[in-house]
Symmetry: C2
Subunit: 105 residues, 2 copies
């Protein structure tokens, strides 16, 4: 469940969000967006958790890969009548991962 | 619940983790670490979610602030007999947030 990313540097897209109570089309679109990401060149993995707040982080080799994926998902979201229906608030942060360290049993 | 961070650039520390079933001291220490972070110069906010995977992201003005906070929390964790008891795996990523955008109703 923790993404097995390579040594830095690489990129992270942090998507922090609050959902509305509208579910219409959400699960299918979320699944399709995950599939699109995984098929995209430069995709390195993702981590996703929701409780009241939702956080989804996707990892990428470079900004170009993020840009291509964003263009695809923007089209998808537009087709599905927009993200504003599903989210009461969100914030997306594009980050350069400079360093990482880990532990596992 | 979504951290109200200022305009980039700033830093994010992504802490992705899996818990063991050992709770001994965990909640108190987590709370104290959050308190220490908030009192630290350069702290900008944090976001935290857990379901099976846990993700806690803290936001900081610069690397120096992260370093000071890490030193404090390392001491705290050492005093409390270490994090390895509470986590079966974790990964920490230090990231430069280059760009962000947001939406809210």
């Amino acid at each position: 469940m923790i993404a097995a990313t390579p040594s830095p540097p690489y990129y992270a897209v942090i998507f922090s969000n609050m959902r509305t109570e509208i579910n219409d089309g959400y699960a299918e679109t979320a699944e399709e967006m995950a599939r699109l990401a995984e098929a995209q060149e430069g995709y390195l993995g993702h981590e996703s958790v929701r409780d009241e707040l939702g956080i989804t982080i996707s990892y990428w080799t470079n900004l170009e890969a993020i840009r291509s994926w964003k263009q695809q998902t923007d089209h998808l979201l537009a087709q599905r009548m927009g993200r504003d229906k599903w989210y009461s608030a969100y914030k997306t942060r594009i980050c350069l991962v400079e360093r990482d360290y880990e532990f596992s049993i």
